[in-house]
């Protein structure tokens, strides 16, 4: 780092630093006076202009043809870089209680695939519900998409059962966006809690989610809340969870996670839990200019 601590011959060395100069402050003063003249009198502005001209010329001569420097001699100031805290703890990993863990878990990205699959699976029960309840597959689509359709104040059932392209578009956006996100969330979190991924992700989470939505739906989307059939809603949520779970389960498993502690399952990056690089000198690192 600092090589002052190295003994010896650098004492007489000097370093070139930019020379102090008054021209910037004169130029700045001139600019301000020029502006101040507008609120006081023209004379001030003229004075400011003179200062600006002088400042510009002076500055110009500072940097051209050569930037002016001053030599500053380097003082020897030994700098010791040390810390009293010499020992670095490691995350303590106790492998004993991990016997009950499953042998394998899944990579994070599998969650996205699961989310997409689950999102497709959800459509089944939802459309089925629409057909059975209102004889229209657009019914559930409009219930979801109606949240964003502006002119729906108090739609009738017949209106909801008809086809509306805005509503379809909005429903697709909401549905696909949410499904992928939830899948991603599953993918990130399930490897941390790997004991019963299907139970957690396929049943418990949908039930919890449905419960939360049940209590809030009246304010999020009253049109949906008035007409929703919660049992069907729950069925489609569970369909999502289970399909997502199955798709994830069919992904290639990451085999080495067998004996990993919780910290490792969280993907924590810390010495002792990741491979150290043998050598990575700056010469290997290219910087983008």
């Amino acid at each position: 780092m600092t090589t002052e601590s190295q003994p010896g011959d650098r004492q007489t060395a000097t370093i070139q630093m930019p020379a102090p100069t008054a021209w910037p402050i004169i130029l700045a003063f001139g600019c301000t006076l020029a502006a101040a003249g507008l609120v006081t009198s023209a004379g001030i502005s003229i004075l400011g202009g003179v200062f600006m001209l002088a400042g510009s010329i002076g500055w110009f001569r500072q940097v051209l043809p050569h930037e002016q420097h001053e030599e500053i001699s380097v003082a020897v100031q030994p700098v010791a870089i040390a810390s009293a805290r010499a020992l670095v703890d490691r995350i303590r990993l106790s492998p004993e209680h991990r016997a009950r863990l499953p042998v394998e878990t899944y990579p994070v990205v599998s969650g996205i695939k699961g989310g997409i699959a689950g999102g497709i699976a959800m459509i089944g029960p939802a459309l089925l519900y629409g057909l059975i309840a209102q004889h229209s597959i657009w019914y559930p689509v409009n219930l979801l998409g109606g949240a964003g359709v502006a002119h729906w104040q108090n739609p009738t059932t017949a209106e909801i059962a008809a086809f509306h392209w805005q509503s379809l578009f909005i429903a697709i956006v909401i549905h696909s966006f949410t499904c992928v996100l939830v899948g991603l969330l599953y993918g990130a979190m399930l490897p941390m809690l790997p004991r019963h991924p299907i139970l957690l992700g396929g049943v418990l989470a949908p039930v919890l989610w449905t419960g939360i939505l049940h209590s809030f739906m009246g304010i999020i989307n009253p049109a949906l809340a008035d007409r929703i059939s919660w049992s069907w809603f729950l069925v489609s949520q569970v369909a999502y969870g289970i399909t997502a779970g199955i798709v994830v389960a069919r992904q290639e498993r990451v085999p080495t996670d067998q004996s990993l502690p919780f910290a490792a399952r969280m993907g924590i990056e810390a010495p002792g839990m990741m491979h150290s690089r043998a050598d990575a000198g700056p010469s290997r690192d290219k910087d983008k200019p």
Binding site: M1, T2, T3, E4, R10, I15, M17, P18, A19, P20, T21, A22, W23, P24, I25, L27, A28, F29, C31, T32, A35, A36, L38, V39, T40, W59, Q62, V63, I72, S73, V74, A75, Q77, V79, A80, I81, A82, S83, A84, R85, A86, V88, I91, A150, E269, A270, P271, M274, S276, R277, A280, G281, P282, D285, D287, K288
Partner: protein
């Protein structure tokens, strides 16, 4: 902090007379192009105006403590809140953060100076003289009677109140002219910081090894380039209207008041991020050191910062929900505003995760940084509330908004600034600030802050609008306003303690040594205060925490960092 000459070896040879020495010393500061001296000048300048604008705030709080008060008249009150806002944003917030950037960025990237040292001096003096011009308005124009000619149109200066017809005299001109002057200073500094971080890094300091403070300042400077300039442009239009009879904002001739509102907030909202992101940088330096852990999720922190900068460019109209945009327009800005919450949330979680599992020492800098975390969390959540356009129709321009942005600006930024001063003061002066006074300062300020601004949310909910110099006695706001004012006084006392601490510790403080906090970035490898050339030899780094690598040769970061 203030009056301290850095030892320039060989500068002082003989012992001249006292007066001559003083002159010499002053001259040294005036002509300096050293980034450290300019940084200190910025910070001292900003602290001075912090006291001034704080006094203005207290005057306003005295006026509002009881209904129907006659402490100041309406004209004076309007000048006070305009000057308070303008000062705090342009003469305190920006200079102090750019001051820190000036002082720290070259040290942190291992450079000897900024990329353009003379431009640096020029930018500072533009800022300084611009501030003086703004305050000259109190005595300028029509002379000293009353309150002179100080701007009185609000720091947002909505058209057409700024038109000649509604704002005769030079009040508005002072506002626009001084901000244009300062705007060019800021532009210069931003260019300088960008060039320094991109072109002056020491060997091995790749972009992804820069300390987060440097990253944040890089992002902020980039943001400054495209946010300060729209304000300058809009102010030039305003001056064209006022001086040569243009019609940009002249509603009688078809000009539009709404266009000004757009232009102002295209500047004004990113400006908030320009102010708060350096605070993020400060927190990202202090929290790891006092938790004794590396920052958690460095790449995510960088990505979140860049993300905030980008999203912040598309949210300005959330200041305009009541202006009468279309419902689709409103919905769009609701969404974009809420999206800011996501990267901000990432940051808060990452700071928490940095503290998690650490060995946290609550020295004064860390106390302030923790206070920042707590308050910034609340500020973010009230921000989410305000982003809900219908609720904003109620809360906009009420004291709830005042409370919200003071939570960001005081609870967030000012807390971080205090943390930064306690943290880097030893580096700049060679002496520690008193921890006892620091604790007094922290606790009094925290208590005063919460008394004031928590209560402000409530009066806002009870329907009190901002910018009013007095209010009716039967509105049910009396008690709450008295509490707010009392809290303001407590904060005032705390800041005085802080000012005293700065001076007293400078004279009698404990010697700091090079590295009092056992920290990890390059500035702590230099003597305190650093010599003019910063580093005797060019440093070389291999990781984000070069000093950690040196202190722990068996466990260096470069082996593990991604």
């Amino acid at each position: 902090m203030a009056d301290h000459t850095l030892p320039i070896p060989g500068a002082i040879t003989a012992a001249p007379s006292r007066g001559a020495a003083l002159l010499e010393w002053l001259h040294g500061w005036v002509v300096t192009v050293d980034h450290k001296r300019l940084g200190i000048l910025y910070v001292v300048y900003a602290i001075f105006f912090l006291l001034v604008a704080g006094a203005e705030a207290l005057a306003m709080r005295i006026q509002l403590a009881i209904p129907g008060n006659h402490f100041v008249g309406p004209e004076t009150y309007n000048e006070l809140f305009t000057m308070h806002g303008t000062t705090m944003v342009f003469l305190v917030g920006m200079p102090i953060l750019f001051g820190f950037a000036n002082y720290l960025v070259p040290l942190m990237v291992g450079a000897r100076d900024m990329a353009f040292p003379r431009l640096n001096a020029f930018s500072f003096w533009l800022t300084a003289f611009g501030g003086l011009l703004l305050y000259f308005s109190f005595i300028g124009g029509f002379g000293l009677y009353g309150m002179g000619n100080a701007p009185d149109v609000g720091w947002f200066a909505y058209a057409p109140l700024t038109a000649k017809a509604f704002s005769p005299g030079h009040n508005t001109d002072y506002w626009a002219l001084s901000l244009i002057v300062m705007g060019f200073g800021t532009l210069g500094t931003a260019i300088n910081i960008i060039a320094t971080t991109l072109s002056m890094r020491c060997r091995g300091m790749t972009l992804f090894r820069m300390p987060l403070f440097v990253w944040l300042m890089l992002v902020v400077s980039g943001l400054t380039l495209i946010t300060i300039t729209p304000l300058t442009a809009a102010q030039i239009m305003l001056l064209i209207d006022r001086y040569v009879g243009g019609h940009f904002f002249d509603t009688q001739s078809g000009g539009s008041a709404v266009v000004w509102i757009h232009f102002f907030w295209i500047f004004g909202h990113p400006e908030v991020y320009v102010l708060v992101m350096p605070a993020f940088g400060i927190a990202s330096e202090i929290i790891p050191v006092f938790s004794r852990k590396a920052i958690f999720g460095y790449p995510a922190m960088v990505a979140a910062s860049v993300g905030i900068a980008f999203v912040s460019l598309g949210v300005w109209a959330h200041h305009m929900f009541t202006v009468g945009m279309t419902s689709v327009g409103n919905a769009f800005f609701v969404l974009s505003t809420m999206m800011v919450g996501i990267p901000t949330g990432i940051k808060i979680f990452n700071w928490l995760a940095t503290m998690w599992g650490g060995k946290i020492r609550f020295a004064t800098p860390m106390l302030f940084a923790t206070g920042f975390l707590f308050q910034f969390l609340i500020a973010g959540l009230t921000g989410i509330m305000l982003s809900v356009a219908p609720w904003d129709w109620q809360l906009h321009n009420s004291y709830f908004v005042i409370a919200h942005f003071h939570y960001v600006l005081v609870g967030g930024i000012v807390f971080c600034i205090f943390a930064a001063i306690y943290y880097w003061y030893p580096k700049a002066t060679g002496r520690m600030l008193s921890e006892t006074l620091g604790h007094w300062h922290f606790w009094l300020f925290l208590i005063g802050f919460h008394i004031t601004f928590d209560t402000m949310h409530l009066v806002g909910i009870l329907g009190m609008p901002r910018s009013i110099y007095t209010y009716e006695a039967d509105r049910g706001w009396n008690t709450l306003n008295m509490i707010i004012s009392a809290g303001g006084m407590i904060q005032g006392i705390a800041v005085l303690i802080f000012a005293w601490n700065l001076i007293d510790s400078f004279l009698h403080g404990k010697e700091a040594g090079n590295d009092p906090w056992d920290a990890w970035t390059l500035e702590w490898s230099t003597p305190s205060p650093p010599p003019a050339y910063n580093f005797g030899a060019d440093p070389v780094v291999r990781s984000r925490r070069p000093l950690w690598d040196l202190k722990h040769p068996n466990d260096p970061d470069w082996k593990y960092e991604q």
